[in-house]
Amino acid sequence: MIKLLSANFLRLRKTNLIWGSLGICVGLGALAALGEFRFQVSVGADLSVPEVAQYKALLEKQFFEYAAFIGILAAEFISLFLGTEYSDATLRNKIAVGHSRLSIYAANLITGFAASLMCIAGYMLSCLAVGTPLLGWFSKPAPLLLCAIAGSVLMLAAFCAIFTFVAMNCAKKSTSVVICLLGVFALLLAAVYLNGRLEAPEFITGYELSGNGEIVDAVPEPNPNYLTGAKREVYQFLYDLLPTGQSLQYTMLNFTDPARLMGLAAAVCAVFTAAGAALLRRKDLK
Protein backbone atom coordinates (compact mmCIF):
# COMPACT_ATOMS: atom_id res chain seq x y z
CA MET A 1 0.00 0.00 0.00
CA ILE A 2 3.00 2.30 0.54
CA LYS A 3 3.61 2.19 -3.23
CA LEU A 4 0.04 3.19 -3.93
CA LEU A 5 0.18 6.01 -1.39
CA SER A 6 3.42 7.23 -2.89
CA ALA A 7 1.79 7.25 -6.37
CA ASN A 8 -1.33 9.00 -5.05
CA PHE A 9 0.66 11.71 -3.29
CA LEU A 10 2.73 12.27 -6.40
CA ARG A 11 -0.45 12.82 -8.41
CA LEU A 12 -1.85 14.98 -5.61
CA ARG A 13 1.18 17.25 -5.88
CA LYS A 14 0.76 17.53 -9.63
CA THR A 15 -2.95 18.31 -9.64
CA ASN A 16 -4.32 21.85 -9.53
CA LEU A 17 -7.31 20.55 -7.61
CA ILE A 18 -5.47 20.32 -4.30
CA TRP A 19 -3.72 23.65 -4.68
CA GLY A 20 -7.02 25.31 -5.61
CA SER A 21 -8.79 23.77 -2.60
CA LEU A 22 -5.94 24.71 -0.29
CA GLY A 23 -5.94 28.25 -1.65
CA ILE A 24 -9.69 28.54 -0.99
CA CYS A 25 -9.22 27.36 2.60
CA VAL A 26 -6.31 29.69 3.30
CA GLY A 27 -8.30 32.58 1.82
CA LEU A 28 -11.41 31.73 3.81
CA GLY A 29 -9.42 31.47 7.07
CA ALA A 30 -7.95 34.93 6.59
CA LEU A 31 -11.25 36.42 5.43
CA ALA A 32 -13.15 34.98 8.39
CA ALA A 33 -10.78 36.64 10.89
CA LEU A 34 -10.65 39.89 8.97
CA GLY A 35 -14.42 39.99 8.51
CA GLU A 36 -15.03 39.48 12.24
CA PHE A 37 -12.56 42.24 13.07
CA ARG A 38 -14.23 44.68 10.69
CA PHE A 39 -17.66 43.79 12.06
CA GLN A 40 -16.56 44.36 15.66
CA VAL A 41 -15.02 47.67 14.69
CA SER A 42 -18.23 48.68 12.93
CA VAL A 43 -20.31 47.98 16.07
CA GLY A 44 -17.86 50.00 18.16
CA ALA A 45 -16.15 47.21 20.11
CA ASP A 46 -12.81 48.28 21.53
CA LEU A 47 -10.64 45.35 20.56
CA SER A 48 -7.51 47.05 21.84
CA VAL A 49 -8.60 45.84 25.27
CA PRO A 50 -7.66 42.12 25.21
CA GLU A 51 -10.43 41.17 27.62
CA VAL A 52 -13.13 42.35 25.21
CA ALA A 53 -12.09 40.00 22.42
CA GLN A 54 -11.48 37.21 24.89
CA TYR A 55 -14.89 37.70 26.55
CA LYS A 56 -16.61 37.45 23.20
CA ALA A 57 -14.45 34.44 22.19
CA LEU A 58 -14.02 36.02 18.79
CA LEU A 59 -11.11 33.88 17.59
CA GLU A 60 -12.87 30.61 18.46
CA LYS A 61 -15.98 31.71 16.59
CA GLN A 62 -14.02 32.04 13.37
CA PHE A 63 -11.42 29.34 13.97
CA PHE A 64 -13.95 26.47 13.90
CA GLU A 65 -15.88 27.75 10.88
CA TYR A 66 -14.00 25.21 8.75
CA ALA A 67 -16.16 22.44 10.18
CA ALA A 68 -19.15 23.94 8.37
CA PHE A 69 -17.72 23.79 4.84
CA ILE A 70 -14.99 21.15 4.86
CA GLY A 71 -17.59 18.46 4.03
CA ILE A 72 -18.54 20.27 0.82
CA LEU A 73 -14.91 20.76 -0.14
CA ALA A 74 -14.09 17.10 0.60
CA ALA A 75 -17.09 15.97 -1.49
CA GLU A 76 -15.88 17.98 -4.46
CA PHE A 77 -12.21 17.05 -4.06
CA ILE A 78 -12.60 13.31 -3.42
CA SER A 79 -15.18 12.70 -6.15
CA LEU A 80 -13.04 14.52 -8.72
CA PHE A 81 -9.68 13.11 -7.63
CA LEU A 82 -10.79 9.50 -7.25
CA GLY A 83 -13.26 9.71 -10.15
CA THR A 84 -10.27 10.25 -12.43
CA GLU A 85 -9.21 6.67 -11.70
CA TYR A 86 -12.33 5.61 -13.58
CA SER A 87 -12.54 8.35 -16.21
CA ASP A 88 -8.88 7.90 -17.23
CA ALA A 89 -9.13 4.13 -16.56
CA THR A 90 -5.93 4.23 -14.51
CA LEU A 91 -7.42 1.97 -11.86
CA ARG A 92 -6.64 -0.83 -14.33
CA ASN A 93 -2.91 -0.08 -14.17
CA LYS A 94 -2.93 -0.77 -10.44
CA ILE A 95 -4.99 -3.94 -10.55
CA ALA A 96 -3.24 -5.39 -13.61
CA VAL A 97 0.13 -5.27 -11.83
CA GLY A 98 -1.19 -7.13 -8.81
CA HIS A 99 -2.36 -4.56 -6.25
CA SER A 100 -5.36 -5.77 -4.29
CA ARG A 101 -8.59 -3.83 -4.47
CA LEU A 102 -8.59 -3.49 -0.70
CA SER A 103 -5.19 -1.78 -0.68
CA ILE A 104 -6.22 0.48 -3.58
CA TYR A 105 -9.37 1.45 -1.67
CA ALA A 106 -7.47 2.09 1.56
CA ALA A 107 -4.78 4.14 -0.19
CA ASN A 108 -7.41 6.28 -1.90
CA LEU A 109 -9.28 6.82 1.37
CA ILE A 110 -6.09 7.89 3.14
CA THR A 111 -5.14 10.21 0.28
CA GLY A 112 -8.53 11.93 0.30
CA PHE A 113 -8.41 12.28 4.07
CA ALA A 114 -4.86 13.64 4.05
CA ALA A 115 -5.71 16.20 1.37
CA SER A 116 -8.81 17.37 3.27
CA LEU A 117 -6.77 17.57 6.46
CA MET A 118 -4.25 19.73 4.66
CA CYS A 119 -7.08 22.09 3.69
CA ILE A 120 -8.24 22.31 7.33
CA ALA A 121 -4.67 23.02 8.42
CA GLY A 122 -4.45 25.76 5.80
CA TYR A 123 -7.63 27.36 7.13
CA MET A 124 -6.51 27.10 10.77
CA LEU A 125 -3.07 28.57 10.16
CA SER A 126 -4.29 31.51 8.10
CA CYS A 127 -7.10 32.20 10.58
CA LEU A 128 -4.59 32.19 13.43
CA ALA A 129 -2.05 34.26 11.52
CA VAL A 130 -4.58 36.98 10.65
CA GLY A 131 -6.90 36.56 13.64
CA THR A 132 -4.49 36.52 16.56
CA PRO A 133 -3.17 40.07 16.07
CA LEU A 134 -6.67 41.39 15.35
CA LEU A 135 -8.94 39.38 17.66
CA GLY A 136 -6.63 38.19 20.40
CA TRP A 137 -5.95 34.62 21.53
CA PHE A 138 -8.42 31.85 22.46
CA SER A 139 -10.43 32.31 25.65
CA LYS A 140 -12.16 28.93 25.94
CA PRO A 141 -10.40 26.18 27.90
CA ALA A 142 -7.71 24.29 25.99
CA PRO A 143 -9.22 20.81 26.57
CA LEU A 144 -12.49 21.95 24.97
CA LEU A 145 -10.64 23.37 21.97
CA LEU A 146 -8.52 20.23 21.59
CA CYS A 147 -11.66 18.11 21.85
CA ALA A 148 -13.29 20.13 19.07
CA ILE A 149 -10.22 19.82 16.86
CA ALA A 150 -9.88 16.07 17.43
CA GLY A 151 -13.62 15.56 16.98
CA SER A 152 -13.73 17.57 13.76
CA VAL A 153 -10.83 15.55 12.38
CA LEU A 154 -12.81 12.36 13.05
CA MET A 155 -15.88 13.99 11.53
CA LEU A 156 -13.77 14.69 8.43
CA ALA A 157 -12.72 11.03 8.36
CA ALA A 158 -16.42 10.08 8.34
CA PHE A 159 -17.08 12.48 5.44
CA CYS A 160 -14.10 11.07 3.52
CA ALA A 161 -15.29 7.50 4.10
CA ILE A 162 -18.72 8.35 2.66
CA PHE A 163 -17.33 10.14 -0.40
CA THR A 164 -14.71 7.44 -1.02
CA PHE A 165 -17.50 4.86 -0.86
CA VAL A 166 -19.35 6.72 -3.64
CA ALA A 167 -16.32 7.60 -5.78
CA MET A 168 -14.80 4.11 -5.70
CA ASN A 169 -18.03 2.34 -6.57
CA CYS A 170 -19.37 4.68 -9.20
CA ALA A 171 -17.87 4.03 -12.63
CA LYS A 172 -18.71 7.53 -13.92
CA LYS A 173 -16.81 10.49 -12.56
CA SER A 174 -19.59 12.99 -13.32
CA THR A 175 -22.15 10.82 -11.54
CA SER A 176 -20.01 10.48 -8.43
CA VAL A 177 -19.41 14.26 -8.34
CA VAL A 178 -23.16 14.91 -8.54
CA ILE A 179 -23.99 12.25 -5.92
CA CYS A 180 -21.33 13.51 -3.49
CA LEU A 181 -22.27 17.19 -3.82
CA LEU A 182 -26.03 16.64 -3.72
CA GLY A 183 -25.52 14.19 -0.86
CA VAL A 184 -23.55 16.58 1.28
CA PHE A 185 -26.11 19.36 0.78
CA ALA A 186 -28.96 16.97 1.58
CA LEU A 187 -27.16 15.89 4.75
CA LEU A 188 -26.57 19.53 5.64
CA LEU A 189 -30.26 20.34 5.25
CA ALA A 190 -31.15 17.31 7.36
CA ALA A 191 -28.76 18.48 10.08
CA VAL A 192 -30.19 22.00 10.05
CA TYR A 193 -33.71 20.58 10.35
CA LEU A 194 -32.71 18.27 13.22
CA ASN A 195 -30.95 21.13 14.97
CA GLY A 196 -34.04 23.31 14.58
CA ARG A 197 -36.26 20.66 16.14
CA LEU A 198 -33.83 19.96 18.99
CA GLU A 199 -33.33 23.65 19.75
CA ALA A 200 -37.06 24.35 19.92
CA PRO A 201 -37.92 25.83 23.35
CA GLU A 202 -39.90 23.73 25.78
CA PHE A 203 -42.28 26.59 26.54
CA ILE A 204 -43.53 29.46 24.42
CA THR A 205 -43.90 32.78 26.08
CA GLY A 206 -46.32 34.99 24.23
CA TYR A 207 -47.54 38.50 24.92
CA GLU A 208 -50.95 39.69 25.90
CA LEU A 209 -52.74 42.94 26.40
CA SER A 210 -53.41 43.72 30.07
CA GLY A 211 -56.58 45.42 31.31
CA ASN A 212 -54.94 48.82 31.32
CA GLY A 213 -53.81 48.44 27.71
CA GLU A 214 -50.19 47.46 28.39
CA ILE A 215 -48.44 44.59 26.63
CA VAL A 216 -47.22 42.07 29.18
CA ASP A 217 -45.67 38.60 29.08
CA ALA A 218 -48.25 35.85 28.90
CA VAL A 219 -48.08 32.72 31.05
CA PRO A 220 -45.60 30.34 29.29
CA GLU A 221 -47.33 27.52 27.45
CA PRO A 222 -45.85 24.13 26.45
CA ASN A 223 -44.42 24.14 22.90
CA PRO A 224 -46.17 21.42 20.82
CA ASN A 225 -43.01 21.16 18.65
CA TYR A 226 -40.76 20.44 21.61
CA LEU A 227 -39.35 16.94 21.33
CA THR A 228 -39.58 14.67 24.34
CA GLY A 229 -38.85 11.09 25.30
CA ALA A 230 -37.74 8.52 22.75
CA LYS A 231 -38.44 10.86 19.83
CA ARG A 232 -36.01 13.43 21.21
CA GLU A 233 -33.41 10.73 21.73
CA VAL A 234 -33.78 9.52 18.14
CA TYR A 235 -33.46 13.07 16.80
CA GLN A 236 -30.45 13.70 19.01
CA PHE A 237 -28.88 10.40 17.91
CA LEU A 238 -29.35 11.25 14.23
CA TYR A 239 -28.02 14.75 14.79
CA ASP A 240 -24.93 13.32 16.47
CA LEU A 241 -24.55 10.55 13.88
CA LEU A 242 -24.65 12.71 10.75
CA PRO A 243 -21.25 14.19 9.95
CA THR A 244 -23.10 17.37 8.95
CA GLY A 245 -24.81 17.40 12.39
CA GLN A 246 -21.41 17.12 14.00
CA SER A 247 -20.07 19.86 11.75
CA LEU A 248 -22.75 22.26 13.07
CA GLN A 249 -21.92 21.34 16.65
CA TYR A 250 -18.19 21.88 16.18
CA THR A 251 -18.71 25.13 14.27
CA MET A 252 -20.80 26.51 17.13
CA LEU A 253 -18.64 24.83 19.80
CA ASN A 254 -21.95 23.55 21.12
CA PHE A 255 -21.49 19.93 22.06
CA THR A 256 -21.95 18.14 25.36
CA ASP A 257 -20.62 14.66 24.75
CA PRO A 258 -17.50 14.76 22.54
CA ALA A 259 -16.67 11.09 23.19
CA ARG A 260 -20.07 10.08 21.79
CA LEU A 261 -19.56 12.25 18.70
CA MET A 262 -16.11 10.81 18.11
CA GLY A 263 -17.36 7.26 18.60
CA LEU A 264 -20.20 7.79 16.12
CA ALA A 265 -17.86 9.39 13.56
CA ALA A 266 -15.49 6.43 13.88
CA ALA A 267 -18.44 4.05 13.42
CA VAL A 268 -19.63 5.87 10.27
CA CYS A 269 -16.09 5.74 8.93
CA ALA A 270 -15.73 2.01 9.66
CA VAL A 271 -19.13 1.03 8.25
CA PHE A 272 -18.74 2.97 4.98
CA THR A 273 -15.15 1.79 4.49
CA ALA A 274 -16.02 -1.86 5.07
CA ALA A 275 -19.07 -1.66 2.80
CA GLY A 276 -17.22 0.28 0.09
CA ALA A 277 -14.24 -2.07 0.05
CA ALA A 278 -16.52 -5.12 -0.04
CA LEU A 279 -18.50 -3.69 -2.96
CA LEU A 280 -15.36 -2.79 -4.90
CA ARG A 281 -13.99 -6.27 -4.35
CA ARG A 282 -16.98 -7.81 -6.09
CA LYS A 283 -17.25 -5.22 -8.82
CA ASP A 284 -16.65 -6.12 -12.47
CA LEU A 285 -14.31 -3.43 -13.77
CA LYS A 286 -13.97 -2.45 -17.41
Partner: protein, 304 residues
Protein backbone atom coordinates in the same frame (compact mmCIF):
# COMPACT_ATOMS: atom_id res chain seq x y z
CA UNK B 1 6.16 -26.09 -24.46
CA UNK B 2 6.16 -23.45 -21.74
CA UNK B 3 3.04 -21.31 -21.63
CA UNK B 4 2.81 -17.79 -20.25
CA UNK B 5 -0.97 -17.95 -20.21
CA UNK B 6 -3.14 -21.02 -20.21
CA UNK B 7 -6.90 -21.04 -19.73
CA UNK B 8 -9.00 -24.08 -18.97
CA UNK B 9 -12.74 -24.07 -19.63
CA UNK B 10 -12.94 -20.37 -18.83
CA UNK B 11 -16.44 -18.87 -18.78
CA UNK B 12 -17.80 -15.45 -18.02
CA UNK B 13 -21.52 -14.82 -17.97
CA UNK B 14 -23.27 -11.47 -17.65
CA UNK B 15 -26.71 -12.56 -16.50
CA UNK B 16 -27.91 -14.76 -19.40
CA UNK B 17 -25.24 -13.63 -21.87
CA UNK B 18 -22.21 -15.90 -22.23
CA UNK B 19 -19.29 -13.61 -23.10
CA UNK B 20 -16.84 -16.48 -22.68
CA UNK B 21 -18.01 -20.04 -23.01
CA UNK B 22 -15.67 -22.76 -21.86
CA UNK B 23 -12.65 -21.14 -23.48
CA UNK B 24 -9.35 -22.99 -23.55
CA UNK B 25 -6.24 -21.39 -24.98
CA UNK B 26 -2.45 -21.41 -24.64
CA UNK B 27 -0.03 -18.56 -25.19
CA UNK B 28 3.50 -19.94 -25.66
CA UNK B 29 6.44 -18.13 -24.09
CA UNK B 30 8.24 -15.79 -26.47
CA UNK B 31 5.39 -15.70 -28.98
CA UNK B 32 3.33 -12.90 -30.44
CA UNK B 33 -0.08 -14.42 -30.02
CA UNK B 34 -2.69 -12.97 -32.34
CA UNK B 35 -6.09 -13.21 -30.75
CA UNK B 36 -8.54 -13.00 -33.62
CA UNK B 37 -12.26 -12.60 -33.45
CA UNK B 38 -15.15 -10.44 -34.52
CA UNK B 39 -16.44 -7.58 -32.39
CA UNK B 40 -18.23 -9.05 -29.39
CA UNK B 41 -16.54 -12.45 -29.76
CA UNK B 42 -15.10 -12.22 -26.24
CA UNK B 43 -11.57 -10.91 -26.82
CA UNK B 44 -11.76 -7.98 -24.42
CA UNK B 45 -13.63 -10.04 -21.82
CA UNK B 46 -10.78 -12.56 -21.76
CA UNK B 47 -8.25 -9.76 -21.39
CA UNK B 48 -10.25 -8.22 -18.53
CA UNK B 49 -10.27 -11.58 -16.77
CA UNK B 50 -6.55 -12.23 -17.09
CA UNK B 51 -5.79 -8.69 -15.91
CA UNK B 52 -7.82 -9.33 -12.76
CA UNK B 53 -10.42 -6.69 -13.57
CA UNK B 54 -13.20 -9.26 -13.49
CA UNK B 55 -13.58 -12.72 -12.01
CA UNK B 56 -14.50 -15.71 -14.17
CA UNK B 57 -17.90 -17.33 -13.68
CA UNK B 58 -16.28 -20.76 -14.00
CA UNK B 59 -13.11 -22.38 -15.24
CA UNK B 60 -9.59 -21.26 -14.53
CA UNK B 61 -6.52 -19.63 -15.96
CA UNK B 62 -2.88 -19.59 -15.01
CA UNK B 63 -0.10 -17.10 -15.61
CA UNK B 64 3.39 -18.62 -15.74
CA UNK B 65 1.85 -21.78 -14.31
CA UNK B 66 0.32 -20.05 -11.29
CA UNK B 67 -3.42 -20.51 -10.95
CA UNK B 68 -5.39 -17.28 -10.62
CA UNK B 69 -6.84 -18.39 -7.27
CA UNK B 70 -3.39 -18.70 -5.70
CA UNK B 71 -2.05 -15.90 -3.54
CA UNK B 72 1.16 -15.71 -5.56
CA UNK B 73 -0.79 -14.49 -8.60
CA UNK B 74 -0.38 -10.90 -7.33
CA UNK B 75 3.40 -11.25 -7.65
CA UNK B 76 3.07 -12.91 -11.04
CA UNK B 77 0.95 -10.03 -12.32
CA UNK B 78 3.92 -7.77 -11.61
CA UNK B 79 5.53 -9.46 -14.65
CA UNK B 80 2.62 -8.38 -16.82
CA UNK B 81 1.79 -5.16 -18.60
CA UNK B 82 -1.53 -4.44 -20.26
CA UNK B 83 -3.35 -1.92 -22.41
CA UNK B 84 -7.04 -2.80 -22.24
CA UNK B 85 -9.26 -1.07 -24.82
CA UNK B 86 -8.21 2.57 -24.31
CA UNK B 87 -4.78 3.53 -22.94
CA UNK B 88 -4.90 3.98 -19.16
CA UNK B 89 -3.14 7.29 -18.68
CA UNK B 90 -3.77 10.39 -16.58
CA UNK B 91 -4.82 12.97 -19.14
CA UNK B 92 -3.84 15.94 -16.98
CA UNK B 93 -0.27 14.70 -16.55
CA UNK B 94 2.66 14.79 -18.97
CA UNK B 95 4.07 11.60 -20.49
CA UNK B 96 6.97 11.72 -18.03
CA UNK B 97 4.67 12.23 -15.02
CA UNK B 98 2.47 9.36 -16.15
CA UNK B 99 5.51 7.10 -16.14
CA UNK B 100 6.67 8.45 -12.77
CA UNK B 101 3.21 7.63 -11.42
CA UNK B 102 3.39 4.06 -12.72
CA UNK B 103 6.93 3.66 -11.38
CA UNK B 104 5.56 4.57 -7.93
CA UNK B 105 2.68 2.10 -8.33
CA UNK B 106 5.22 -0.61 -9.14
CA UNK B 107 7.67 0.47 -6.46
CA UNK B 108 10.51 1.11 -8.92
CA UNK B 109 13.14 2.81 -6.73
CA UNK B 110 14.41 5.39 -9.27
CA UNK B 111 13.06 7.25 -12.25
CA UNK B 112 16.23 6.59 -14.26
CA UNK B 113 14.48 4.31 -16.73
CA UNK B 114 11.93 6.91 -17.82
CA UNK B 115 13.93 8.66 -20.60
CA UNK B 116 14.78 5.30 -22.17
CA UNK B 117 11.16 4.20 -22.03
CA UNK B 118 9.98 7.46 -23.59
CA UNK B 119 12.57 7.07 -26.32
CA UNK B 120 11.49 3.49 -26.94
CA UNK B 121 7.94 4.60 -27.68
CA UNK B 122 9.01 7.78 -29.48
CA UNK B 123 7.67 10.27 -26.94
CA UNK B 124 10.97 11.69 -25.76
CA UNK B 125 10.23 15.15 -27.13
CA UNK B 126 6.78 15.73 -25.64
CA UNK B 127 8.14 17.91 -22.80
CA UNK B 128 5.44 19.57 -20.72
CA UNK B 129 2.62 18.71 -23.10
CA UNK B 130 -0.22 17.06 -21.21
CA UNK B 131 -1.49 13.69 -22.37
CA UNK B 132 -4.90 15.33 -22.95
CA UNK B 133 -3.36 17.12 -25.95
CA UNK B 134 -1.71 14.02 -27.44
CA UNK B 135 -2.87 12.45 -30.71
CA UNK B 136 -4.53 9.04 -30.50
CA UNK B 137 -1.32 7.34 -31.62
CA UNK B 138 0.72 9.16 -28.98
CA UNK B 139 -1.77 8.21 -26.28
CA UNK B 140 -1.61 4.60 -27.45
CA UNK B 141 2.19 4.65 -27.32
CA UNK B 142 2.13 6.24 -23.88
CA UNK B 143 -0.29 3.53 -22.77
CA UNK B 144 2.21 0.92 -23.98
CA UNK B 145 5.05 2.75 -22.20
CA UNK B 146 3.03 2.67 -18.95
CA UNK B 147 2.43 -1.05 -19.49
CA UNK B 148 6.19 -1.50 -20.03
CA UNK B 149 7.11 0.44 -16.89
CA UNK B 150 7.55 -2.70 -14.79
CA UNK B 151 9.81 -4.31 -17.40
CA UNK B 152 7.23 -7.06 -18.03
CA UNK B 153 7.80 -10.43 -19.67
CA UNK B 154 4.22 -10.55 -20.89
CA UNK B 155 2.45 -7.71 -22.65
CA UNK B 156 -1.29 -7.75 -23.30
CA UNK B 157 -2.54 -5.37 -25.96
CA UNK B 158 -6.21 -5.04 -26.74
CA UNK B 159 -6.86 -3.63 -30.22
CA UNK B 160 -3.72 -1.47 -30.12
CA UNK B 161 -4.06 -0.10 -33.66
CA UNK B 162 -7.75 0.75 -33.54
CA UNK B 163 -8.36 4.21 -34.90
CA UNK B 164 -4.73 4.88 -35.77
CA UNK B 165 -3.56 6.40 -39.04
CA UNK B 166 -1.27 4.31 -41.33
CA UNK B 167 1.91 5.77 -39.83
CA UNK B 168 0.60 5.13 -36.30
CA UNK B 169 -0.12 1.51 -37.24
CA UNK B 170 3.41 1.07 -38.60
CA UNK B 171 4.90 2.65 -35.44
CA UNK B 172 2.98 0.33 -33.15
CA UNK B 173 3.83 -2.72 -35.29
CA UNK B 174 7.52 -1.93 -35.23
CA UNK B 175 7.42 -1.32 -31.51
CA UNK B 176 5.76 -4.68 -30.84
CA UNK B 177 8.24 -6.52 -33.05
CA UNK B 178 11.13 -4.73 -31.36
CA UNK B 179 9.85 -5.64 -27.89
CA UNK B 180 9.40 -9.25 -28.88
CA UNK B 181 12.73 -9.65 -30.65
CA UNK B 182 15.00 -7.50 -28.52
CA UNK B 183 13.47 -7.96 -25.10
CA UNK B 184 11.92 -11.37 -25.65
CA UNK B 185 8.56 -10.11 -24.38
CA UNK B 186 5.62 -12.43 -25.01
CA UNK B 187 2.79 -10.43 -26.54
CA UNK B 188 -0.90 -11.25 -26.57
CA UNK B 189 -2.48 -8.95 -29.12
CA UNK B 190 -6.16 -8.92 -29.86
CA UNK B 191 -7.36 -7.50 -33.11
CA UNK B 192 -9.83 -7.84 -35.90
CA UNK B 193 -7.50 -6.13 -38.38
CA UNK B 194 -6.25 -9.41 -39.80
CA UNK B 195 -3.86 -8.05 -42.38
CA UNK B 196 -2.02 -6.16 -39.67
CA UNK B 197 -1.99 -9.14 -37.35
CA UNK B 198 -0.59 -11.42 -40.06
CA UNK B 199 2.53 -9.22 -40.19
CA UNK B 200 3.22 -9.78 -36.51
CA UNK B 201 1.84 -12.95 -35.05
CA UNK B 202 3.80 -16.13 -34.50
CA UNK B 203 0.75 -17.90 -33.10
CA UNK B 204 -2.98 -17.47 -33.56
CA UNK B 205 -6.07 -18.13 -31.53
CA UNK B 206 -9.40 -17.74 -33.30
CA UNK B 207 -12.33 -16.94 -31.04
CA UNK B 208 -16.00 -16.97 -31.89
CA UNK B 209 -18.99 -16.64 -29.55
CA UNK B 210 -16.73 -16.91 -26.52
CA UNK B 211 -14.99 -20.10 -27.65
CA UNK B 212 -11.62 -20.79 -29.19
CA UNK B 213 -12.39 -22.43 -32.52
CA UNK B 214 -8.79 -22.96 -33.59
CA UNK B 215 -5.34 -22.43 -32.16
CA UNK B 216 -2.30 -22.78 -34.37
CA UNK B 217 1.14 -21.43 -35.06
CA UNK B 218 1.90 -19.03 -37.90
CA UNK B 219 3.79 -21.86 -39.61
CA UNK B 220 0.76 -24.12 -39.42
CA UNK B 221 -1.41 -21.32 -40.68
CA UNK B 222 1.00 -20.69 -43.53
CA UNK B 223 0.81 -24.34 -44.45
CA UNK B 224 -2.96 -24.22 -44.32
CA UNK B 225 -3.01 -21.10 -46.45
CA UNK B 226 -0.23 -22.27 -48.76
CA UNK B 227 -0.45 -21.68 -52.49
CA UNK B 228 -1.52 -24.94 -54.09
CA UNK B 229 -3.22 -26.53 -57.02
CA UNK B 230 -6.48 -28.21 -56.06
CA UNK B 231 -7.10 -31.05 -58.48
CA UNK B 232 -10.15 -33.18 -58.98
CA UNK B 233 -9.56 -36.65 -60.40
CA UNK B 234 -11.44 -39.92 -60.81
CA UNK B 235 -8.89 -41.94 -58.80
CA UNK B 236 -6.73 -40.38 -56.12
CA UNK B 237 -4.66 -43.57 -55.70
CA UNK B 238 -3.54 -43.21 -59.30
CA UNK B 239 -2.89 -39.52 -58.67
CA UNK B 240 -0.73 -40.40 -55.67
CA UNK B 241 1.33 -42.81 -57.74
CA UNK B 242 1.91 -40.19 -60.42
CA UNK B 243 2.80 -37.41 -57.94
CA UNK B 244 5.13 -39.72 -56.00
CA UNK B 245 6.82 -40.46 -59.28
CA UNK B 246 7.26 -36.74 -59.90
CA UNK B 247 8.57 -36.21 -56.36
CA UNK B 248 5.93 -33.56 -55.63
CA UNK B 249 4.39 -32.73 -52.23
CA UNK B 250 0.62 -33.23 -52.07
CA UNK B 251 -2.28 -33.83 -49.72
CA UNK B 252 -5.22 -36.12 -50.48
CA UNK B 253 -8.41 -34.43 -49.29
CA UNK B 254 -11.02 -37.00 -50.37
CA UNK B 255 -11.56 -39.82 -52.83
CA UNK B 256 -11.55 -37.41 -55.73
CA UNK B 257 -9.72 -34.32 -54.45
CA UNK B 258 -6.15 -33.42 -53.59
CA UNK B 259 -3.96 -30.36 -53.05
CA UNK B 260 -0.67 -30.30 -54.90
CA UNK B 261 2.03 -27.99 -53.56
CA UNK B 262 4.02 -27.38 -56.72
CA UNK B 263 3.89 -25.61 -60.06
CA UNK B 264 2.85 -28.38 -62.46
CA UNK B 265 2.58 -28.65 -66.18
CA UNK B 266 -1.10 -29.56 -66.50
CA UNK B 267 -0.72 -31.30 -69.90
CA UNK B 268 2.12 -33.43 -68.51
CA UNK B 269 0.07 -34.32 -65.42
CA UNK B 270 -2.98 -35.13 -67.54
CA UNK B 271 -0.94 -37.44 -69.82
CA UNK B 272 0.62 -39.22 -66.85
CA UNK B 273 -2.78 -39.72 -65.22
CA UNK B 274 -4.16 -40.98 -68.50
CA UNK B 275 -1.46 -43.64 -68.53
CA UNK B 276 -2.68 -44.76 -65.07
CA UNK B 277 -6.28 -44.91 -66.25
CA UNK B 278 -7.32 -41.83 -64.34
CA UNK B 279 -9.02 -38.69 -65.62
CA UNK B 280 -8.15 -35.15 -64.60
CA UNK B 281 -11.53 -33.47 -64.06
CA UNK B 282 -10.44 -29.99 -62.90
CA UNK B 283 -7.49 -28.01 -61.60
CA UNK B 284 -7.75 -24.77 -59.65
CA UNK B 285 -5.05 -22.59 -58.16
CA UNK B 286 -5.71 -21.72 -54.49
CA UNK B 287 -4.15 -18.98 -52.36
CA UNK B 288 -5.89 -18.56 -48.99
CA UNK B 289 -5.25 -15.46 -46.88
CA UNK B 290 -5.62 -15.13 -43.11
CA UNK B 291 -8.86 -13.32 -43.79
CA UNK B 292 -10.37 -16.10 -45.89
CA UNK B 293 -9.06 -18.67 -43.44
CA UNK B 294 -10.83 -16.82 -40.63
CA UNK B 295 -14.05 -16.48 -42.61
CA UNK B 296 -13.97 -20.20 -43.46
CA UNK B 297 -13.35 -21.00 -39.84
CA UNK B 298 -16.04 -18.94 -38.14
CA UNK B 299 -18.41 -18.54 -41.07
CA UNK B 300 -19.16 -15.29 -42.78
CA UNK B 301 -22.82 -15.12 -41.84
CA UNK B 302 -24.45 -12.49 -39.67
CA UNK B 303 -23.63 -12.39 -35.98
CA UNK B 304 -26.03 -13.62 -33.34
Amino acid sequence: MEYVLATQGLSKHYRQFKALDNLTMHVPKGSIYGFVGRNGAGKTTLIRLICGLQAPTSGSYSLYGTDFTQKEIAKIRRRMGAVVETPSIYLDLTAEDNLKEQFRVLGVPTDDGIPELLKLVGLENTGKKKARNFSLGMKQRLGIAVALAGDPDFLVLDEPVNGLDPQGIIDIRELILKLNRERNITVLISSHILDELSRLATHYGFIDSGRIVKELSARELEAACRKCLRVEVTDTRALARVLDGMGVEYKILSDGQADVFAQLNISQLSRALDGEGCELLSAQERDESLESYFVNLVGGGPRD
